[in-house]
Amino acid sequence: MSAVWKVGVVASTHAETPTGRSIQIDVPGWGGNLAGQHVDVRLTAPDGYQAVRSYSIASASPGDRLELAVDRLPDGEVSPYLVDDLLPGDELELRGPLGGWFVWRPEQTEPVQLIGGGSGIVPLMAMIRAHAASGSTARFRLLYSVRTAEDAFYSEELAALASAHFTIDWVYTRVAPAGWPSPAGRVNRQVLEASTIAAGESPSVFVCGPTGFVETVADALVALGHSAASVKTERFGGK
């Protein structure tokens, strides 16, 4: 088989939501990645059957440790193993870092609108971390759509990173927290118009989430005047 596959060792795992967790992996020779890139994970069953899936990287730091965050897809071939069974010390076959399109680089100075649904926050988290770590003063705004407050990945770290250069808008699609000013509901054109950087400011927009979410949001953004080329999307399947 191809020589590009590397073997990583799970260093630790951390529960993020009732159905998802982050996984810290040491990969000798990794050498860091760009914010927004992903890695392919290959699992091999005892009978030789193999499955490969792409997972966004939540980290964007130099060195040989990377972090994934994975939500269990009910009919997934790989995600249930990563969320329920994987233990520190276990080995994983990895290929990457991969992808040069859905990435943010610290030398970019234009405003950036991030829009995530559920675990679609993961590559956006890498961008938010890279933005903070580089001391970038580019305007960052995140619209994060989750079913309920407990379904949010990285909620404490996001709150801690909020600053004059990074602001967060939350959308709750099933249950809003007590006292929340607006009722639970999905992201639509009205929400985007009220809670994202306007097309007139020419932001770069990164959208990641379930396929249906991404396609709804991307279509609405273009209808609001964003150029299709300024809206970069990443779909992870799901409903």
Partner: protein
Amino acid sequence: MSHIDGNALAGPLSELFSVDMTDAVGRCVTCGDESVLAQAMVYLSGTDLVVRCSNCDDVLLTIVHSPGDLRLTLTGLAALRVAI
């Protein structure tokens, strides 16, 4: 499970091409649409992929693994343009 998108092609195509292909612009044979491969629709089965045009839904390329080889078909791509 619905489709994912062409960002997932970065790994499989890294076995064949020396540059990142998610940023490459492909032209669809059927409808002439020109889009980066990252925007195409990708359907997965095990380690195999079918990639369809996001505009007209026709097949752009397939990647099929069997013991000892990897087969790439490019029947739906009239051209690929990569930044150098």
